[in-house]
Subunit: 460 residues, 2 copies
Amino acid sequence: MQAESSSPLPARPVDLLVAGGIVVTMDSNRRVIADGAIAIAGGRIVAVGPRNEVEATHRARERIDATGRTVIPGLINGHAHVPMTLFRGLADDQDLDDWLQHTIFPAEAMNVDEAFVRAGTRLALAELIRGGVSTVCDMYYFEQAVAEEMASAGLRGLLGQALIDFPAPDSADHATAMACIKRFVDTWQGHALITPAIAPHAPYTVCDENLVKARAFSDHHGCPLVIHLAETRHEVQESRRLKGAPPVAHLAALGVLSEAMVAAHVVWAEEHELDLLLQHGVGVVHNPQSNMKLASGVAPVPAMLQRDLAVGLGTDGSASNNDLSLWEEIDTAAKLHKLISADPKVVSAQEAFEMATIRGARALHLEQQVGSLEVGKRADLAILEMEAINQLPLSSIYSALVYATKASDVLTLVVEGQVLLRDRQLLSLDEPAINAEALAYRHRIVERLGLAPGPLADQN
Amino acid sequence: MQAESSSPLPARPVDLLVAGGIVVTMDSNRRVIADGAIAIAGGRIVAVGPRNEVEATHRARERIDATGRTVIPGLINGHAHVPMTLFRGLADDQDLDDWLQHTIFPAEAMNVDEAFVRAGTRLALAELIRGGVSTVCDMYYFEQAVAEEMASAGLRGLLGQALIDFPAPDSADHATAMACIKRFVDTWQGHALITPAIAPHAPYTVCDENLVKARAFSDHHGCPLVIHLAETRHEVQESRRLKGAPPVAHLAALGVLSEAMVAAHVVWAEEHELDLLLQHGVGVVHNPQSNMKLASGVAPVPAMLQRDLAVGLGTDGSASNNDLSLWEEIDTAAKLHKLISADPKVVSAQEAFEMATIRGARALHLEQQVGSLEVGKRADLAILEMEAINQLPLSSIYSALVYATKASDVLTLVVEGQVLLRDRQLLSLDEPAINAEALAYRHRIVERLGLAPGPLADQN
């Protein structure tokens, strides 16, 4: 058994004991415990081990029986735009430039305000919690509202307040945007759940000067910097044409790459650019389904893993994907790279699951806090109702987790020691109210964008 | 309203009325009815239309309220090996030839008997019904047992008894196999739910002479012929080397292609071979996730759709995929071809949903019976608990169905007018017994194959 110290009798009092079931720790030994238990106190894991040992040495205020279940670290969704859940299905089957310039940006200008962001965030939080995600990295406007909603619901967030070189829904110019970011970071730094960040949208929407300022801000405030990077071939072509280098190399030359950076997509990075990302300690987030749906391309994940780059998985926003199920990203990541590499041994089930947990934590620079079930880490875990036959894997438990487990198999979610979902019931959110509010917003979006209402949009 | 005849008062008595909700008919006009209803009598659809009209003219013995739900045709899983559900996770992250020759075939020789097939089929049926699949095209051994289990559970099947040029679990030689197939076809032809078929495994496991005999059998008995075709690049190379032509062209030259054929995979067909498939009226089944996971390649689906080929979707067996969720195949099909074509407009949400319904029915040559909600067709439908915001689509109901709906959203399944699933409860299967039996088989497989038991297989 692994414990903070040898526990003398009497048993140590703890807040919560999750006891029984298969515990998939994702620790450095990738230990899987057949009948395990986890003791939690003060929001942290204080013991992980065989059930009989942990139960003998801890006395819990609350006990969750996980017998016959599987217990995993809470999943890490490394890239999302949670308020955009209200825009789900707004524009499908379009290419990214059309989609962004002609649909998303105008729809945002017409609809996005603080109340919209709150409603969209609450809707997304319900889906994330139900799906076993305990940490989400977000980038959007009014991120102060996202942070308040997320902290109130009890989910962990690395939240980037967006910076973009045109008038945004929450700031008319660069100075206002930077002031807003500073206020946001000052407000949330040190919070147990929320890590505030600066989020320059992308190298093609933020000028070099402002990118350099963003890096300086990140250094000065010790906060992460979240960015979209090398997502499309078009972006790379334009970067070469306008700046003389592909985006990653350009950011390296500008001095913007750093250990605080979380770069989403990185589809079109060249080999030498992957080396640059590694050298600078940049975290990368792979969004396989979004990249497929927008026909952006396939990130060179096998080459990233070969370098032991910190690469996680993300869903991207629901306007592009169109859901927040990280399980589908895990499954797709494992399958997609086999296809593209023409090698079914590439990105094993275990590697895919690592990207959603411990490697995903590294991508967000949060690996000291989350991503595995280990003593001293934040108590973020999910309990799964896996089919009995998957509990008896023929080859590997990771196969069952990656290829056969769904978001709907998540029974319980604990974040920072707090139970947010119990037996599929949301404890920190009012689901009927959230759904009613979301529906009202959808009616408003339909009206403002002059769309045909409801299913009749499909009528011939 | 569409009805068999003008209904005079008093209201026509029917068995079942599904009333309310958005009805996605998939009829030739792709009609979507905002507040619809479907009347069912004798296992067939006798009326589809606006709720108030259908309710006014029909008096039902039983009524299912679908208000606030979405009603769709039951999904069509065009390619599966249902008993292999017991082998889920047996061997992942291997290439197809290794997987088949060194793992699956030996595991089958060691484990597969009639009782295994029954247990595996029941387990698969539970998953299929829960996932909204009303018709499945299967190919395996002991298909008589599959048919009995499927008919007993009330699911519709196009079931192919396998033919293969080496001793199989249910027949030692070709003559025994052909006799078994004849008995199987004679037993089931004319059954309301089961369409029996002959299933030569593939051109690389069945010799030309036996393929020609299988075609003659199919012609003589008027039964479908199910086959794996052009699945891997290796298969095509070997076909060229040994037979002087790629597999589809070779079968055309042999005279084996026909309107009764259902060909699974067809990943590596050349343009002229797609023309041959079209000319001969062959149905094709695309299995995107299996083809990705085994790194087999990507079927030329956009070129198939351009020809209006009858192409459906399948999960393949759970030993390769590793689940029976057709929803993930629909979602993957829509996304994968965008990526491969580098065009996000390719395989629209509507086209993907068609492949799982009406076009999938054409692929199985069952389009006169199933695949859409139309008067005269078999009463096969699913009711979905879609999120309220997806019920108010911003662009298209097909987007919500394809990109955001999951197997777990299926509430109710009706096949041939019989309710097999109601509010997520299986009515025709004993789920605890099925799971206990499956677990016992898994223990036996672990023992026979000398695998490390349970999660400890992952221990370092």
